[in-house]
Amino acid sequence: MKQVYSVPKSLQPRSTHYCPGCTHGIAHKLVAEAIDDLGIRDRAIGVAPVGCAVFAYDYFDCDFQQAAHGRAPAVATGIKRSVPDSVVFSYQGDGDLASIGAAEIVHAAMRGERITVIFVNNAIYGMTGGQMAPTTLVGQKATTAPFGRQKEHCGSPLRVSEMLATIPGAAYVARVALSSPGNVAKAKTAIRKAFETQLAGEGFSLVECLSTCPTNWGMGPYEAMSWLEENMIPYYPLGEFRTPEGGPNNA
């Protein structure tokens, strides 16, 4: 019998604490598949964020460090600089990366830090119960934006990939969506490319994964997927914003 699917070896065989319909699980699987495909499990050192993925280390079968809120790129820098042949990835939410950790991510990119960042943008603070993130869409409700995010009050959402793509040290920057099977396949390719960028020593790499948080969006899993495609993708266009071959591609 031909085996068509198995759980990636770089994932621990256990169920996760994520809510039903949450895309954190998909992102974990894609990262683990890239690690398997590239044969780098014994060189991989992950950095877990503060956010719903704080326990990511429970699911990956590789070394991990848990970082303070937003500081994962700095922690990853310390690891990569002291063990240069390691393959270092941080896994961060949008509150973690785009708000409290904005300085750390910008400067890791500026230095061309040879790390890979998996950026899970679900337009909300998941772990703390649905507060507004810098990525929350205008009009989108959050517990701290009960009438929906108002541009006049707190500005327009931050497009992290576009911003980082302007930084010379960023070698690979792409935005993908963890919504349809087609989009997940593209996400898998992008995540693999990001790790390859690191392995080739070409510089900083980041994949922004548009994600769902059905729990704090107040939606069922299916409705959340549709909401992502109908509302997030128009504001956060998918594609590669920077590749090692040719600077900004379609930014």
């Binding site: 070394d63 700095a74 310390g78 002291s82 063990v83």
Partner: protein, 356 residues
């Protein structure tokens, strides 16, 4: 005998760290300690190490966390406002049981304060500093040679107890020049780093550097484990200098730069016929409570002198435990107390407490 060389304090502490095996430095500029990162930027590449200027103290200390988590000998340095920013990371490093060295050349505060020497960050340095139940080991050298000696052993100590070690200096110690000799510390048996995250090679189980324990009982246990190591440090690592305390009526207590001044106060007072001694804590954490308590059995009064409005004096009072009055003299904001001022206080105390 090794050769003695004239060194500025900041550069001496950096060179001592390199000789102690430090190969990674992450920092951010701030006066009065800039010679440390500047020295490391030149020196570390010579020994195959790495210097990196971070975007902030927040980032610098988290880079230290990452590198320490791989088992590297790593340090950072800063001064008061920068150390405040580093407290989040220091708390995480303590929680994750990582060894590292932090040099703090204290300047006057609060806020932006000034750039002149101060001892006003004693509380922050010795009472944990960041959030949570933890202590760090804090050395308060009073000369460049002592700063070198303590730095040479600091990494061994940090690795033995798996906690951050701080060198608590000030602008005077950082800027002044003295002849120093780099001598090997007494060898210690340092435990193997079987926790370092360097990649799960050769079939070993994955390792985790972490400070989150959501179950209260688990965090309780974790904190007790860290506290137990500090208890060991209390037993083995307390350092303090006692000068002429055996027959002293009045005992000065001071650390670092202030202790240098108090030493000359002691000599002048003795010359004037007053029986004055000096206790100089070298580790301010763990604090030499017992050593001071012992002197309190015979001394008639204590005078704590600090470049602060009164911080270490609280620990001295705990140590003396009511056995004798504990007086205080302090200057703040970067003003260095003069020997004459302190001597005047000593004479006042002598009139009030000794000859009554």
């Amino acid at each position: 005998m090794a050769e003695r060389k004239l060194f500025k304090g900041n550069e001496a502490v950096a060179e001592a760290a390199v000789r102690a095996g430090c190969r990674y430095f992450f920092g951010y500029p701030i006066t009065p300690q800039n010679e440390i990162p500047e020295y490391m930027a030149r020196r570390l590449p010579e020994v195959g190490g790495l210097f990196l200027q971070a975007e902030s103290e927040v980032a610098a200390i988290n880079m230290v966390y990452g590198a320490a988590g791989t088992g590297a000998r790593v340090m950072t340095s800063s001064s008061s406002p920068g150390i405040s920013l580093k407290q989040e990371g220091i708390s995480y490093i303590a929680g994750a049981e990582l060894p590292c060295l932090i040099v703090n050349m204290v300047r006057g505060g609060p806020g932006l304060g000034g750039i002149q020497p101060a001892q006003s960050d004693y509380f922050q340095a010795v009472k944990g500093g960041g959030h949570g139940d933890y202590y760090t080991i804090v050395y308060a050298p009073a000369s460049i040679q002592e700063m070198v000696d303590l730095t040479m052993q600091a990494f061994d100590v940090a690795e033995t107890y798996r906690m951050p070690v701080m060198i608590l200096g000030d602008g005077v110690l950082g800027q002044m020049m003295e002849p120093v000799e780099f001598r090997e510390p007494a060898p210690r048996e340092v435990p193997a780093k079987d926790w370092a995250t360097t990649g799960a090679k050769d079939g070993r189980a994955p390792r985790l550097i972490n400070s989150i324990y959501l179950q209260p009982e688990a965090l309780f246990k974790h904190n007790l484990k860290i506290a137990e190591r500090f208890e060991q440090a209390k037993k083995n690592e307390v350092m303090c200098e006692k000068a002429k305390t055996d027959d002293a009526d009045i005992v000065l207590v001071a650390y670092g730069t202030t202790a240098r001044i108090c030493r000359s106060v002691m000599d002048r007072a003795r010359a004037a016929g007053l029986k004055v001694g000096l206790i100089r804590p070298i580790t301010v954490s763990p604090f030499p409570y017992d050593e001071i308590g012992e002197v309190a059995r015979t001394a008639k009064a204590f005078l704590t002198v600090e470049m602060s409005l009164g911080q270490m004096v609280e620990d001295v009072k705990v140590a003396v435990s009511g056995a004798a009055p504990v007086h205080f003299y302090g200057t703040t904001g970067g003003v260095i107390p003069t020997a004459a001022e302190i001597l005047e206080r000593v004479e006042e105390i002598a009139r009030a407490e000794v000859r009554k």
